[in-house]
Symmetry: C2
Subunit: 421 residues, 2 copies
Amino acid sequence: MNRNSHHVVVVGAGFGGLEFTRALADASVRITMIDKRNHHLFQPLLYQVATTALATSEIAWPIRHLLRKRKDVTTLLANVNGVDRAGKNVLLEDGSAIAYDTLVLATGARHAYFGHDEWEPFAPGLKTLEDATAIRRRILLAFEQAERETDPARRWALLTLAIVGGGPTGVELAGTIAELAHDALRGEFRNIDTGQARVVLIEAGDRILANFAPDLSAYAAKALERLGVTIELGRAVTRCDAEGVVFGDKQLAAKTILWAAGVAASPAAEWLGTPADRAGRVLVEPDLTVPGSPEIFVIGDAAHVPRPDGRLVPGVAPAAKQEGRHVAATLKARLAGDTSPRPFRYRHDGDLATIGKRAAVIDFGWMKLTGWPAWWLWGLAHIYFLIGFRNRLAVSLSWLWIYATGQRSARLITQGDDDKG
Amino acid sequence: MNRNSHHVVVVGAGFGGLEFTRALADASVRITMIDKRNHHLFQPLLYQVATTALATSEIAWPIRHLLRKRKDVTTLLANVNGVDRAGKNVLLEDGSAIAYDTLVLATGARHAYFGHDEWEPFAPGLKTLEDATAIRRRILLAFEQAERETDPARRWALLTLAIVGGGPTGVELAGTIAELAHDALRGEFRNIDTGQARVVLIEAGDRILANFAPDLSAYAAKALERLGVTIELGRAVTRCDAEGVVFGDKQLAAKTILWAAGVAASPAAEWLGTPADRAGRVLVEPDLTVPGSPEIFVIGDAAHVPRPDGRLVPGVAPAAKQEGRHVAATLKARLAGDTSPRPFRYRHDGDLATIGKRAAVIDFGWMKLTGWPAWWLWGLAHIYFLIGFRNRLAVSLSWLWIYATGQRSARLITQGDDDKG
């Protein structure tokens, strides 16, 4: 690769960043991929790690292994601190700088607490592998402590698990936690009955899965209730602390609270010094460039991209991938001398969410699917999209095993406060 | 189960504690199993987690799941603080006490630094899942940092990995790390050649695998050198710090140092206020009871058990299991009215160690085995001894995959200092 060729720096090896890099396979550019983690994460299945169904290595892959055959790509594990737009440099935490000709920021999102960051220790969210193992640890420890707790009120608080947010992540967490407690763990304790554990899903709006058609929301609510999940609608959470969660006039004593209610973008807007929306997403031009810097693109969850009907492009993997492909095509056109603007158009394929291991809802718009056909389609689609063949095989095996036996393989409590894992 | 029946408390669900509990399946006693972790760990394969070949959940199982069908067993996740021998109570960290009629301490060992605990941050040992993921993180991060390091001396220190201790664990770590660097990671970096990484095995004695026959030691040394491991014999380590490791007159600049040199028993002797050997192992009677307390047994790595020839019963899984079965038989005899002393006799089946993925050494005494036949026998034996069928399948799959493709599935850097995983 010619050291003088066009240098593209990509920050973030999520769905958007990786897809962009792939689509640029035959372009005559040098690419540097920077990520603060060494692995790409298949986030749609992260809740299954948090609920003991899958092992961490089944949904994550080393980035440099994924890109090993791309001799045009250098992978760096590094923390980005800022962007020098005038000098065209990405600034790293260690003080070094990396010059770019084109910069693609695909830095994703974290969970947000609507200005209440003090809730985070009591209500962790789910975005990274560490989040998932921490939540797994929290859920399993609650049952362990309940087994030893003699005070009935405290025992009830330990056996109460609250999930805040009725979107797909909240619904998937609630369903699998209910199955874990009411099914997989049953019979393994002597002083408690995990079948009595309360799983409560709290949603501020008037229905769960608000992005789906109303009849699918109603179906999902029924399916969740069949699994033993209590759904609380119409009241927003106003406090989370060591005692539990307060929503509206209700106080729920719960030692385990999980946060699935909001996301906030990464600090890309701060790095750029460019306007962002309330959630921190960069307000990009229709071609996904940053205003005033046509050589900088922002894609995926870090970007605020309006659709013609006024709604935003959603923060899902297919959207990030479409944006990655679009930016790659734009860059190739530019390198070929065509600098005409190329506005991005989002194609929405559908929404889907699973409810435990036998039901799911899929909303394609033109078609709706529920029950076990939806669940099987969901399972096949996710196995298909898993990147490595090795992981497809391992995940299929894990799921078949759980499906057939109800046993889960990743029920490990690790990384306690005193284990500097 | 009759609440008034004989109550047996077991502390530690390692090989010894679990085997004891199993052997007591048909006895009319109540059993309480206490462990400070929620999982039984298959320690012989822990080095494979540390070197990215296996996932954590492939070698660990929830204790209460293993014992779920044993309605006579209550499993508690708890930290033990001491033993009240006079009152026959196990004292827990939370202030509560658990009364016993018979107590079995099977609390295992940690690594020891011969009075130099200040070395631990620079030279971590390998006893728990957290140890393994921390070591995995350390090894992978060294290569990531080397890829970005421009100073040649610092880059060499990052590409130098030292293993202290030439026993089976040290040999297995050195062999798999050499394969990881020289084989699996090769071609994935752009600024370094991991094939140049130095893996140095440091042993104070005059040969590695000192417990084996000399010709097997020599074979293992040759096999390691073929994998690119440098073996340093005859000089004890006198310092470990951020710069590297000092042994004899030699100073080796190494950013990654792993400790496989010594074990120290758990605090069981302190709990009991009874004499221990230099490594902290309880000096037990020939029947494995504690002097003066015939109702307390100590088994496994926590016990100092001499053999007729003066050597000690080794700290390996088969020894712990034999002791567990012996104590169970003793207890059953006692419950039947036979209180005659029953001295424990150890039967040594052999020693084995693997060197990378194509060689191993096995010393049965009456037969010695090297090369790929030993490796295959080692692999089959370990799969056979893995407890859950699910894990046998998963581990077999992982190994076949690595064997066939050289790819490793668990190359994840998680749990950084700022990730409170």
